[in-house]
Symmetry: C2
Subunit: 130 residues, 2 copies
């Protein structure tokens, strides 16, 4: 399956997970990857708070992000008064959610290492329960 449609499928799975809680609303951004505008893959909220989420899934044990990925998520999150988060899905693992301060800096941008993600990341249950 092409990377793009595979990415869309994992985003849709996460969209369904939020709705299935019965407490969270979620929208998936149309063509978020191909549009020239900033914006997260998902914007979710309950009656108390909002989160803007960039989704990344990989078969590797690292996810690389460039400065632009991070800056555009920050900018957008400010406007929508939402907490910016990166959702990462490593093969055969559950989604983990990392805040920008949990990313590791590299010379060219940021990296999320699967081991670090397991230490610092929050599970879906954790981010939706508090």
């Amino acid at each position: 399956m092409a990377n793009k449609s595979k990415g869309s499928n994992t985003e849709r799975d996460l969209l369904h997970k939020f709705w299935s809680t019965g407490k969270w609303c979620a929208i998936r951004s149309a063509g978020s990857g191909s549009m020239k505008y900033p914006g997260p893959d998902l914007l979710v909220g309950n009656l108390f708070r909002r989160m803007s989420i960039e989704c990344k899934s990989t078969k590797d044990d690292k996810v690389y992000l460039n400065e632009h990925d991070v800056e555009q998520l920050k900018e957008f999150s400010k406007v929508f008064d939402a907490k910016p988060l990166f959702a990462v899905k490593f093969s055969k693992k559950d989604w983990l959610f990392l805040a920008i301060e949990d990313l590791q800096k590299t010379p060219k941008g940021y990296v999320i290492d699967s081991k670090v993600a397991e230490l610092r990341g929050l599970s879906f249950g954790e981010i939706t329960s508090y």
Copy 2:
């Protein structure tokens, strides 16, 4: 052109209009018409406020809305702390924006009449400037 893709095109036009102001961010919801979940076609915001917008374009001089259209927009808007608006585009006219209190009740739902829309609706310039 099929109604669905025509609808998407008018939504995209409006998305571009918001971004082109240089002050507003906007996201278009993926598959908003076909998903089973509530949600607006567009969610827009600047640093001061947010609006959730359901887009309707027609060659007719009336747009009919059912109770469900209105209720789902209200519900979603509460979660995202956004002002719910209907954006209507009648043939050869500019977009007009109506709040829920500006809709006219019918036995089965609501109607937006082009004449009433011109009286009560706000232009794109008006809704983005204050």
